[in-house]
């Protein structure tokens, strides 16, 4: 935690040497998610492609493509921009290569804190941080004399007050779309309650307990204050709700703040949109949020020349002070030279409050998948919290058995 504070809050005057861009051969093909910061990052690395081929695929379906594309030999992509969760399937299948030698040779501007090391080997180089935190409408809260909520209990109380005032019918929004998004909200809230997903040292599930029930009850309370279509709303949909002025409190990704605060849309709403740290829940002191990093990994099934060319061009972006200065409002960069602006408040607050990173465990994807489909019926009021949690554990156990984790 201290490491990131150092990274985020202090401008370090280290070596300013950029990775040199004299790439003579090889071909570069990158797979990445699709949001502004990643586009900027890839564009920056393109400036350093030398005479190598350079191709990129930005897709929000990147998770579905990654494993099959990297399993092929030679693999379709030479690099994959991954995050805490999406690096796990690549590690499970042994599809990415250690970067130690390349970091030593070409990674001059990369800071040690950017390196993701697993078992002593550098497996990825991170360049930005992300989390989900609260957004609020300053004008609405001020009118009703509501203080900025610090806990989810206060979020509920504030939303109820806004609804009672008649200003807004559905004052709260979060990405509750059944599937990955909903499961992510559960993960955040469960961690906020101090829960551990697995019994220590094993892959046995550990969510059917008081903390799990409290988590579900809080999600339900919040869903009742959201648009009734919440089960179909992803981050993009709630962003639209916010921009149409239907929502006064929202939990959303930090990486989306750029599009909320840009010049498009109603200027009054944009002006009143304020960011604050993630909320805590149930009297806990760590936020109900997870920290994420985005970083690049290199495919194993690709010739060394390609890996070298790819690393050099990506390292150029991952140590680029000009990029982080120009695109300071697009992301919380972990790159040296980044000065956090007003749009980075969420992540910085989360780190200060001691938020935990998303669990990087080989079986976590199965748990996430089981949560996404099995807690829906509880939110719809069709079954009890205990039954829903029992279902999640049972669904997870079947899947984990098939995958050989249990």
């Amino acid at each position: 935690m201290r490491k990131i504070l150092v990274t985020l809050l202090f401008l370090l005057f280290g070596t300013s040497a950029f990775a040199d861009c004299n790439i003579k051969s090889g071909s570069i093909n990158i797979l990445a998610n699709d949001f502004p910061a990643l586009r900027t990052f890839v564009e920056t690395s393109k400036q350093c492609k030398g005479s190598a081929d350079f191709k990129v695929t930005h897709s929000s379906e990147h998770n579905k493509i990654a494993v099959p594309a990297l399993t092929a030999n030679p693999s379709e992509f030479s690099a994959r921009i991954a995050a805490n969760s999406s690096i796990v399937p690549l590690m499970n299948q042994d599809l990415i290569r250690p970067l130690d030698d390349l970091v030593k040779k070409y990674g001059k501007g990369i800071q040690d804190s950017q390196l993701i090391t697993i078992d002593g080997k550098v497996m990825a180089v991170a360049f930005m941080a992300n989390t989900q935190h609260l957004y609020y409408r300053e004008d609405v809260l001020k009118d009703l004399g509501i203080a900025i909520p610090k806990t989810y209990e206060e979020v509920v109380a504030a939303s109820e007050k806004i609804r009672a005032s008649g200003k807004m019918q559905y004052p709260y929004a979060a990405a509750y779309k059944a599937g990955w998004n909903l499961a992510e909200e559960f993960v955040n809230m469960f961690i906020g309650h101090g829960g551990e997903f697995f019994k220590s040292g094993s892959a046995e599930p550990n969510i059917n307990n008081a903390k799990g029930v409290a988590t579900l009850n809080m999600l339900k309370k919040l869903s009742e204050l959201s648009n009734p279509d919440y089960l179909t709303h992803d981050s993009e949909a709630i962003k639209v709700e916010w921009e149409s002025g239907n929502v006064a409190l929202m939990t959303l990704w930090a990486s989306r703040s750029g599009t909320l605060l840009d010049d498009e849309g109603d200027p009054n709403i944009t002006k009143a949109t304020k960011l604050t740290g993630p909320a805590t829940v149930g009297g806990g002191n760590i936020p109900a949020a997870t920290l994420w990093w985005d970083g690049f990994t290199l495919a194993k099934n690709r010739p060394d020349a390609d890996a070298e060319a790819t690393f050099r061009s990506l390292a150029h972006a991952a140590s680029n002070k000009k990029m982080v200065a120009d695109a300071a409002d697009q992301a919380v960069w972990l790159v040296e030279g980044f000065v956090p602006g007003p749009k980075s408040i969420g992540v910085i607050e989360a780190v200060k409050m001691g938020a935990k990173p998303y669990p990087m465990l080989p079986q976590m994807g199965l748990m996430h998948g089981a949560l996404g489909s099995e807690i829906v019926e509880f939110l719809q009021g069709k079954e009890s919290a205990e039954q829903a949690l029992k279902d999640v554990e049972a669904a997870y156990i079947s899947k984990a058995k098939e995958q050989g984790f249990l």
């Binding site: 935690m1 490491k3 990274t7 998770n63 579905k64 494993v67 969760s85 999406s86 796990v88 399937p89 590690m91 499970n92 042994d94 804190s113 950017q114 993701i116 090391t117 697993i118 078992d119 002593g120 991170a126 941080a129 019918q169 779309k177 059944a178 599937g179 990955w180 009734p228 279509d229 919440y230 089960l231 179909t232 990093w293 972990l334 780190v351 990173p357 990087m360 080989p362 079986q363 994807g365 199965l366 996430h368 998948g369 996404g372 489909s373 829906v376 019926e377 719809q380 069709k382 079954e383 039954q387 049972a394 669904a395 079947s398 899947k399 058995k401 098939e402 995958q403 050989g404 984790f405």
Partner: protein, 342 residues
């Protein structure tokens, strides 16, 4: 056609079918009997920008050794078929012994993912197929009675739902039924209930998807029926008119028996299509309220970061068996008719 000519005529198609349909099904079948090897995990130190922790990773060296020895995985027999996410044999036995009333037992069983999906799939088939047949037939009859001049544009308009890509069609409807969309907002006004949402209620979502299914599939039935109507001989109809038969009687006693084989054909194809319902669930983002067998397969393959090949293969095999069971009555009947005709 002599059998020999038929054989040579059919050979290219047959080969392509074996290659692209038969073999993949066999391979899927084999895969469904295997599960992943037991994962070899080890404790390691992981460091990221947020700090270091000790946690577990898959031991790739050990795993690749096991994989090389047995690339298909661990033989699991019917293990995947009977686990909780599929037929759930153990769970059902337990529910049977533990629950007190039959209603509670059914509740417990329909809470299991496979049965939940099966029930939606069957409901969808049961409502969509007959309605598609009926609506298609009515449209074909009406269009057949319209003046020839305007028939062309009308036919084009009628088959439009089939031309529209299923995903696009469902998305258009999805936005219209949004609580702020044209249909959704009007229904709220009409019912005077600002909390009414077509998307959040399970029943309403099912109804929406079924209506969409009827809308999308009717043109197919219509096109086939319309073509068949052109072959109905005029003489018996004229004779019936002279005998004073009403329009309904003519349709019941002359038209329907004539096009009966075509009706069977359309029913068969519709049943098969409907049993594989998938696109509207994605288009309507209805995963929360409605899951079909095809959606389960999709979910196992792409929705998780870990791909569950065994699960997906088992569900695929059971879908094929399900279609076979559904079609059996129609097929047996056709076979019997074929035999008596000879």
């Amino acid at each position: 056609m002599p059998n020999k000519t038929f054989f040579w005529f059919f050979l290219p198609t047959g080969l392509a079918m074996i290659l692209f349909i038969g073999l993949p099904i066999i391979s899927t079948g084999i895969q469904s009997f295997y599960a992943q090897h037991d994962q070899v995990v080890k404790e390691v130190k992981k460091c990221d920008p947020f700090g270091c922790t000790v946690s577990i990773v898959v031991d790739n060296e050990e795993t690749s050794k096991i994989r090389e020895a047995k690339p298909l995985g661990k033989f699991n027999g019917f293990g995947t078929y009977t686990d909780r996410n599929h037929l759930a044999v153990e769970e059902i036995k337990k529910f049977w012994n533990e629950t007190e009333s039959f209603g509670a037992f059914v509740d417990q069983v329909t809470n299991l993912p496979f049965y939940k999906a099966l029930i939606f799939t069957l409901t969808y088939c049961l409502f969509v197929t007959p309605n598609v047949l009926l609506l298609g037939f009515i449209i074909a009859l009406s269009l057949n009675a319209v003046a020839r001049k305007i028939r062309g544009p009308l036919i084009f308009g009628t088959i439009l739902p089939m031309i529209v890509t299923p995903l696009v069609g469902s998305l258009v409807l999805f936005w219209m039924i949004d609580s702020q969309g044209i249909i959704g907002a009007n229904i709220q006004n009409l019912m005077n209930d600002p909390y009414l949402s077509l998307k959040s209620s399970k029943t309403l979502t099912w109804i929406t998807i079924i209506i969409y299914g009827i809308w999308h599939h009717s043109p197919f039935a219509f096109v086939v029926f319309y073509a068949a109507l052109q072959t109905v001989p005029q003489e018996p109809i004229e004779a019936a008119i002279i005998d004073g038969a009403s329009r309904f009687q003519r349709i019941k006693h002359i038209v329907l028996p004539h096009i009966y084989p075509v009706v069977t054909f359309v029913a068969l194809i519709s049943l098969m299509d409907n049993f594989r319902v998938f696109e509207p669930i994605i288009g309507f983002s209805a995963e929360g309220s409605a899951q079909s067998l095809s959606w389960l397969i999709y979910d196992n393959l792409v929705n998780e970061e870990v791909i569950l090949f065994g699960s997906a293969a088992a569900t695929s095999m059971m879908t094929i068996i399900g279609i076979a069971i559904l079609l059996a009555p129609v097929l047996i009947r056709t076979w019997k008719e074929f035999k008596t005709a000879r």
